[in-house]
Each structure stands twice: as C-alpha cells, then as structure tokens.
C-alpha cells in the first residue's frame, strides 16, 4: 500500500498518525495520511486523446500523489498554519533578519494582472509598464545608496553577493588583475560571505574584530596585498555597530587596487540617513525582503538587487533596462556583458512590485524616519536592559540591532539557547542566537521600526523577568522550555543521524535507531 486507500479512515481531525489536538492547537496528520490517489479538489474535463505525440515516453510508474477536495485542503493548510509564529501574530526580534511589518497593499499590487499575468518573454512592446517599474525601482535604490548602477536580477541576498563578487572578479580580469585570489572577510561576517568568496575560488582571509566590536582599519591595511581582490564587510556590522573607520578602510582597499563589497543585510539602519556610495563601497546587495518589507514567506522567496559603483557598473549581469527612442528596451543577451546571466528571465518581478509599493508609501521622508525609528527602538531596548544583561560593546550607540553576550547568565546553568526557548513561552520569537561568532553565547536583538513602545516595553519587561528567574535559580523555566508551544524541543541529532526526508507508508518505517 503506497498510501491510504482503505476508505480514508484517517480523515482530518479524526485522529491519524499524529493525534488530533484541538482546532486552536491542531495536531495535523500528514497529507499522505489523509489524501488518496482518487480524490481531487480541481474539476477538469476528461479528454480523449486520439493520437498522442508522446513518442512512447508515457508514464508507466505510479505517481503516488494524494489529492484533497477543496474543503479538506483548506482545513489542512489552515490547521498547519496555526503551528507557525509570524510577524502578524507576535514580535520577531531576530537580529540581522529585519522582520518588519509586511503591508498588504504590496500584496494587492503584486496581484494586478498587468504585473502577475505577464510573461517574461512577451514582446518588449507589450510590457513597457513593467520595464518602467524596474527603472523606477532602480532609481530609488541608486538614490538611497548613492551609487551609479543596479543589477536587479539576483534572487536573494546570497545570490546578490554572488553577483556582486562575480562583477568584482570580472572587473579584475578585464583589468589584467586576475592574479588577485584573496578576499578579506571580518570574523563577524554572515556565513554567506566566506561561502560566496570560496564559491568563486577565492581564498578567505579572516580579519579579527577589535575589542570594541568594530573592524580595525590598520588590521585591514596590514592584510592588504597585491593578491587581494576585495574585502567583504557588513555595515552596520553584525554586532549592530556602524563601522567608524569605514572611510579609511575603503580608501586603503582602493589604494591597494581591490574592491569594497558591502553586505547590505543591515541597510535598514541607515536608509535615507547615510549613503553607502559616499562611504566608498563598490558593490552592495539589498535584501528587499528585509529592508523593503517584501514577505519572508517562511524562508523565501527573497530578492537581492546589487548596487554598483561607477567602476563596477560595466560588469553588471544581463538583463537590464535601457532607454531606446521614446520607450524602454531590455538588454538580455549575455554577450553584452562580461558577467553574463545569473538567472533565467528578469529576476523577482513580484518582489520589485512589492518593494516599489512600499517605497512610494513611505516616501523618501518616511524611509529615513523608518531607519531612525529602527535605531531608536534598538537603543531603547539596550537602555532598558543594559543594567541586567551583559553588553560586550558599549562604546558606540547600537544601530538597528543590539548585541548581548551570555556572561550575565554565568553560574545560572542557563544557556543562551535555554533563555531563547523560554522567550517562546512568553509569546515572542527567540532573538538570533550564537551569531555573530565574536562573542560568547550571542543574543542579537533587532526590533525593527514596526514595534510600538508598548510592545517594546512588554518585551523588555519579559526579558528582565527571565533574567531575574535565571539568576534566582529557576532553571526549570529555561531547560524545560518551551512548554506552551505546539511542540517541545525537537531531537535534531536524531533527525541528522537517520535522515527521514520523505514520507513512506508505515510498514516501510525503519526501526528507530535508539
């Protein structure tokens, strides 16, 4: 039996493999335990095919795909959805992730037929509005960053990094500098930075952080050599600090004939306040799903346009939009640039629509205010928690996020992980944990501008109460947590040791490894 075909005894809510729970806290069976091969929620005519043109490649093997009728599907996915925390249901203080409010006007606009129902290979004459939208979005991004060009097509932040670093590589090759094989990456960088550099064949040279959490310009100078192709620096950095020597670093990097790649994951702190181009960056990706409010969607899709300096502009990938007569044209043949193409078609149009909608709603003034509020909120949390939590880098104001280490928990037997899981029982998503790697037991908190003062106060009250509990020896509140979530802590070791990545019928279950 490949799936349930026995009169569907495990219908939704009737028990099934996982129990049933309540409608408020459902224990939802798997699709494969409730659907079967005959049911369908889509009415389609049965057609006769007189002569098929399949050349004998017809399917002989079983598909084994369960179907649900429409009411069953609705209930399955609604019940599953209730098991998720979301921005709309509670604060998401995830450092480095910018979990801000996702306006629904964005969603409505992305679904206009003139955006959602157009094909990427329609004649360019029939999509002039789409190209104009790409032009306008580019204008906003270049104006906010003070840069000369933008490549819109990267599909996500890490893809944008790849694109920006490929542009740097292409520029070096075009200028006879292909011998540059080293990329400098500060220790506090996101994991994607060294992974991207290594992906392109560069060797990664780490730059240590200073005691105050920032990058030392003299350490960069010392690491620079004729072999260095670029530095990949995050600004504001992952300790939540604006790099005070960033101009000196940029000047030294350029002096040495290398390029300055900036990880723009934290652009939300400075949009409309300072322009990265003025700081000397050559390339920077912008996560539209962070800074410009396109939804995270449970892990994607993202969008990672890359802004480029004058020096790198000629090395952008295709496609890009260009003026032609009184209209716009799409340059889409890879022969027209040194870099070529990094994705099929034109990138994440659906995200361009949402991001531009957000920009027009906020305006230049509102974006600057949003950045200032994001920074205000992070510093407010820092000020309220500073007496109890341990602040490794007190010398500079926080930007959009504040970093604590775990020294305040010393002797309590409570780890950063335990502390974060206890936050779940109080209705909050945990903060980012154990990142950046430069402090012990990191807790990185980013409230974003979307949180009201009442919410921030409630969050701080909860954090202080948890800290008091930990210090008072109430270990159980932490090590047992979460107790008020759909699941208790999950056994990740078991998942990795005997991976079960797809469902199989109960009779095929392997014996438990214990």
């Amino acid at each position: 039996m490949s799936m349930n075909t026995q009169g569907r005894p495990t219908g939704i809510g009737s028990g099934g493999a996982g129990g049933n729970g309540s409608s408020m806290l459902p224990n939802e069976p798997l699709l494969f335990e409730i659907g079967d091969r005959e049911h369908s929620g889509v009415d389609l005519p049965e057609v006769e095919i007189v002569t098929d043109r399949l050349g004998g490649f017809d399917r002989a093997s079983a598909l084994d795909l369960p179907g649900l009728t429409e009411p069953e599907a609705m209930r399955h996915y609604v019940r599953l959805s209730r098991l998720n925390h979301s921005i709309d249901s509670g604060m998401y203080p995830l450092g480095s992730c910018t979990m801000k409010h996702n306006p629904r006007l964005n969603e409505k606009m992305a679904r206009l037929p003139g955006f959602a129902d157009i094909h990427p290979l329609q004649p360019v004459s029939t999509v002039q509005g789409a190209l104009q939208l790409m032009e306008e979005l580019s204008h906003w991004l270049m104006t906010l960053t003070g840069t000369a060009a933008v490549a819109l097509s990267p599909k996500a932040g890490a893809h944008g990094e790849l694109c920006g670093m490929m542009a740097i590589k292409a520029a070096h090759e075009a200028r006879g500098q292909a011998h540059r094989t080293v990329v400098l990456v500060p220790e506090s960088a996101h994991g994607t930075n060294p992974a991207t550099a290594a992906f392109l064949g560069y060797s990664v040279k780490p730059i240590p952080a200073r005691a105050d959490g920032t990058v030392d310009a003299s350490a960069v100078v010392a690491a620079l050599s004729p072999d260095v192709a670029a530095i990949m620096l995050t600004n504001p950095n992952t300790c939540g600090l604006f790099e005070p020597q960033i101009r000196e670093i940029a000047a030294a990097v350029h002096e040495a004939g290398a390029y300055f790649y900036c990880d723009g994951a934290n652009f939300n702190a400075i949009m409309g306040v300072v322009r990265p181009g003025d700081l000397g960056i050559d390339a920077m990706h912008i996560n539209l799903h962070k800074t410009f409010s396109t939804p995270h969607g449970g892990g994607g899709p993202g969008a990672g346009p890359v802004v480029l300096s004058e020096a790198l502009a000629p090395f952008a990938p295709v496609p890009f939009v260009r003026k032609a007569g009184d209209g716009l044209e799409l340059v889409e043949h890879p022969q027209e640039t040194a870099l070529g193409r990094i994705t099929a078609f034109h990138g994440q149009m659906g995200m361009y629509v949402r991001a531009l909608t957000y920009m027009l709603s906020h305006g230049g003034d509102g974006l600057a205010q949003a950045a200032r509020d994001a920074v205000l909120n992070a510093n407010y949390i820092r000020a309220r928690l500073a007496d109890v939590f341990s602040l490794p880098f007190p010398d500079y104001p926080a930007m959009h996020e504040v970093l604590f280490d775990d020294s305040f928990l010393e002797g309590s037997g409570v780890s950063t992980l335990d502390f974060a899981k206890a936050l779940i029982d109080e209705g909050f998503h945990p903060m980012t944990m154990y990142f950046p790697l430069v402090v012990h037991g990191a807790m990185l908190i980013e409230p974003t501008e979307s949180e009201s003062r009442q919410t921030l106060d409630h969050f701080c009250d909860v954090m202080l109460d948890l800290a008091r509990s930990a210090k008072a020896g109430d270990k159980e509140r932490f090590t047992a947590a979460p107790t008020r979530a759909p699941r208790r802590r999950l056994d990740e070791t078991r998942a990795a040791r005997t991976p079960r990545l797809t469902w199989s019928p109960p009779e095929d279950l392997p014996q438990a490894a214990e």
Binding site: E28, E38, G41, V42, V50, T51, L54, G55, F57, A60, L63, P66, L68, A73, M74, Y77, N84, S86, L94, E107, G114, A116, D117, H119, L121, V127, A130, T143, A156, L162, M166, G191, A195, T196, E243, V274, R275, H296, R341, T343, A344, F345, G347, G350, L360, S361, H362, G363, D365, N379, Y380, P397, I424, S452, R453, P482, R488, L490, L501, W503
Partner: protein, 447 residues
Amino acid sequence: MRYLPHSDAERADMLALIGGPDADALFSAVPSDLLLRQPPALPAHSPEFSVEARMRALSARNHAAGDGPFFIGAGAYRHHVPATVDHLIQRSEWLTAYTPYQPEISQGTLQMLFEFQTQVANLTGMEVANASLYDGSTATAEAVLMARRLTRRNRILLSGGLHPHYRDVVRTYLGDDDDLICLPASPVGQGDILSRLDDKTAAIVIQTPDFFGHLRDLKAAADAIHAVGGLLIVVVTEVVSLGLLEAPGALGADIVVAEGQSLGNALNFGGPYVGLMATRKSFIRQMPGRLCGETVDAEGQRGFVLTLSTREQHIRREKATSNICTNSGLCALAFTIHLSLLGEAGLVRLARLNHARAGALADALAAIPGVTLLNRTFFNEMTIRIGRPAAPVVEALARRGILAGVPASRLLPGEPEVDDLIILAATELTSSEDIAALSAALAEELK
C-alpha cells in the same frame, strides 16, 4: 506614516530614557559630513489610494496574458491556479513567518516542506528532494556543481535542447571553463551528445520536453552516461508534463531539477518561481539547499526540523556545499497546495488536457501554408518554421492582440538557422477560439 507606530512625543520620551541629546546622537559613529540632514531627493510619503493609482497606471501599460489569445511558454507556463491557493498563501502565518530555524513554533512550515519534498520525490521518481531552490535555472547550475563534487570529475556536457537561459546561467556559475561543453541548439530534437562521452565526463544535462518541445530519450542517455561512470542530470521546465510522461527517476536519472512555476505560481514576468531538486538518497550530503527531516520532540511526538545543516553556509562558512541561504518557501507552498488539490487523478487529467490542446494547436498550425511543424513528439509545446524572420511576425501578431509564442532568435541571437522559428505552447487555458484566431492571423501575416 501609517507603518510607523511612534508619535513625536513618544520618540522624545524614548530618547530621554536612552539619554542622548538628540536623534542624531544615535548616529555618532557615522562621519558627520556624510550624515544626510534632509530626506533623500525622492517623492514624499503617499496615502494608500495614491500609491495604488500609480501602480495601477504602470500595470495598465502592460498587455496581460489574459487579455487575448496567448501561446508563450519557453520555460514559464500560464496555467489556472485555484483560488484556494492564493487565499491560503496570504494567511499571515504562512506569509509573514521566517525561515523555520525554531522548530517548536514553525511546525506548519516544516510539515509543509516535508510534504513538499515527498511530492517532488514522487513526481520525479527520485528518492529524496530538497526544500526548494530559487528557480529552475539556478537549480540546474547547482546540479552541475553537485555532479562535479560527487564524481570528482570536471567535464559537463549541456544538451542543445537545454533552455538557453539555463545554459547561460551554468556558464556564468562555472566561469571560464574548458570542461563545460555546450552543444549547439538543436531545433529538430536531435543531438550527438551521447557520442561525446568519456571517462572524464562528470555529467550530461538533458532537458525534456526540451526547449523546442521535443521529448528526449532519457533511458538511452542514462545507459550511455552510466557506462562511463558519469551522472545524468534531467531538467524539466514544465512540471505538468510529469503527469503524462515517465518519471525521470524511473529512467535512470541521478539528479532531477525542475522549474515548479507551473503549479500554484503566476507568470510574474519571470519571478519569483520555485526550483525543484531531487536525487538519490546516497547523494544527499552533496545536495545544496535546505532539507527538512522528521524527528520527535521531548515528549515523543512526531515533529519536523531543518536537518543536515552541516552542508550549509551558516555552519560551514567557506567549506559549505553552496552559498545558498534561502529557499523559495512561499512559492513552494503554492506548489504543494496546488498539487494537493490536484492529486494524482487531477494532475493526470490536467496533463492530458494540456496535451490535447497542444495537439489541436499543432494540427491547426501545420495546416497553414508556409508553416512547418518541427516536432514529431511534444507535450504542450512545439516549434514551427515559417520561412521568414520570426520576430517581426510575432511583433505584428502582438499588435493584433495575439501573443503568439517566442521567436527562437530572442534567446538564440546571431544563429541564422533559428531565425525563422517560433516556439509555441498550449495549456488548459488555450481555447479553440484562441487557436482559430492565431491560425487566421498567422495565415494572413504569411500571405
């Protein structure tokens, strides 16, 4: 400013508690000569109705696929998406959730991904699938890199039937590389790829239905590449075809990558889409992207977590299998909901309907004087030769309100032998009236 909760009084209060003299003091690390004192030179904030009017004006300047007869495919297909799909994916708990790194409060997303992985594995006839990649083209490039890691060989052969954008993305990912061999485009569905294999070959990449709509013999390809110890990578850009065509896994594929847009996702001018990747169980440690796995919680209840993350960049940094950080979660959700609604019975009916509409289109086109149909086999897409440059004809038909497919020259510029080719697709949304309108207009243009 409707998205910002603070009043000016609250801002001042908060600043007082922080202890700074003014808001600029929070930016004291920024070089003061670079701190912008004025908002950037961009329009000021707008009410919702004004923004909506502006966006509607831009949208109105595009000819939507639903505005008239429509026959474009070439890697993105216009299918009907049930209303339930779009309703569900806009629920807050799906739309505004983060990556499920905290499994206790992310079981919805995780169970959905586990179901998605199973559906993709079953659909492709493979043992395992990941939780999705950006799209079909980047998934293809990742599959090529994965094959190199698995075989410790370098040579990659790309079939002439591979979508040209996919070929270009592989080229970009691999950089200047003598071991990447791209066979010339083959509009008639033949290629000599199998005669070029040797014991240095890591993998061959074959798309079926191919860029020109032909169905390719995967079994022959699998046998030939396995005989020299390499891998077969199969690319599918139209997943609905798998309702009717034999699963690549059943024919010997080692890695299957696909564009999943056809199920649950709108055309969106090219993105966001959803890349599928499925493979053999023994290859999972070299597979890029997120994986969801089953486990139990502290009380023994079944639950799901992201797993095998020691392959990934946030753990392994420069030693990771790829730099990928996100998947295409919400598009994967749309895919899995649509496929759950269809089920096996519905997917087979949908595939048959597509093939039937394409058969009607092929017959109508072949009857037009001056048109030659190049396909002996196809699923829902085909190529015709019209004996004159195709791009101006397609443009002229667009002026009549008919979007009549893609001139092959748009994707294969500078190749005279494809200059007079048009690639056309039909789906369940293609009506007999659409086909009649296209036939009449094309016949007139070719007179």
